[in-house]
Subunit: 211 residues, 2 copies
DNA sequence: TAGATTGTTAATCGATTAACAATC
DNA sequence: TAGATTGTTAATCGATTAACAATC
């Protein structure tokens, strides 16, 4: 039950399994999928799939596999995706813009996508009030008030490296619980906040090694 | 010397160390940095830093730390970033656009950023010839020829999931060696190609668990 | 010299894989 | 029933951490 009972490496694979299940055509043979098939479509070994699913406690059927609908609902429940999740984005440059459009488009077109963009923030007064797919850009100064008002607990940081720590501090003060950081810097955060990082430059440099 | 002598988990941290070193102000005390300081700024333990750096064979100085300039050059050399790396992007939607601008801007403003965007591809004839920061969009049909002509070996895939496998197959046929895949699907690729995946939805769903 | 910090070895910890009894 | 596939345990593999002698 406690968060620490499921290792993070396992949690990280659950959305991948979920993605595969949601992309399965409705008329998938028998509405059941084996660890072999699920693993193949996920890029994970069958043993790994079974181990992961046994850790979260789902039940497959010996000789058959996992019921797709059951497994999908179970994965959603564990990942908190059975309810709507509100998200704010801080920083509306190239990347912030693209992320904003990505999330709103997905929300509009996929009925099972439960992440909803509810707020955008930038430090530039020039863009204040501008709409991205219907969501207005607010000044970063209003962040704390807006976070409480709208009730979002997840934030995407897409500001330049120099501003990122100050933004993270605002998030901490406003009680944000989860942050996806695109700024190319390691951010200090109170341990109550879960921070994941993603950095295009680092991904590219990492790949460059294999050329 | 062989690629397999350095574990991938270590390789993945090297760009992070490099990023820290490049952000260090010129007048950093004594031009030397300890594993403690480097670890703190990288989000990695000092022991891990020393282990990683000893694996790649860099030499620090006991009692002092690592010479910043020496370590930086060494990291660049190992990551192949001592020479220019040409990159192509396939798929110029929201995300592809943002990535294209990100790479070209960084290339233009940071003298030490050696990744150069040389080609853009899309399947939509409407956008053919359009320029993004000076780089023209080509039709995907010309991919093979352009890859050979321009000589890029690294590709970013930013097309919809449905088209991604076909695009990967084209990459394989054209001798591409490294792929950063943003499409939300697991791609099959010959083992000669190194594929890394990054998926915004999956990152967000992963984080949602911690709400 | 005294203090600091590396490089490395050994210990610990955790994740993946293999194997197979249980059972649908 | 026979064939298939799960769930789980044990074995293996790999990564991180701790500790400290070497030495700048």
């Amino acid at each position: 039950m406690g968060k620490q009972s499921i290792p993070d490496v396992v949690i990280r694979r659950l959305p991948i399994y979920l993605r595969v299940l949601e992309n399965l055509s409705e008329d998938f043979y028998g509405n059941v999928i084996s660890s072999f098939k699920l693993g193949e479509k996920s890029g994970v070994s069958p043993a790994q799939v079974r181990k992961d699913l046994s850790i979260i406690g789902s039940f497959g059927k010996q000789g058959l596999g996992y019921e797709i609908a059951v497994l999908r609902d179970e994965l959603k429940r564990i990942l908190n995706l059975d309810k709507e999740i509100k998200v704010g984005i801080i920083g509306v440059g190239n990347l912030g813009h693209a992320i904003a459009r990505y999330i709103t488009q997905k929300y509009a077109t996929e009925k099972d996508f439960h992440l909803k963009l509810v707020a955008l923030f930038d430090s530039d007064p020039e863009v204040l009030g501008e709409l991205i797919n219907g969501v207005p850009i607010d000044l970063i100064d209003t962040f704390h008030a807006k976070a409480l008002e709208l009730g979002f607990r997840m934030v995407v940081i897409a500001v330049p490296a120099e501003e990122a720590q100050a933004v993270m501090d605002k998030c901490a003060a406003a009680g944000i619980e989860a942050v996806l950081n695109f700024a190319p810097i390691h951010l200090k955060a109170p341990k109550e906040i879960r921070v994941h990082n993603t950095d295009l430059s680092i991904d590219l440099m990492h790949l460059a090694y294999y050329l």
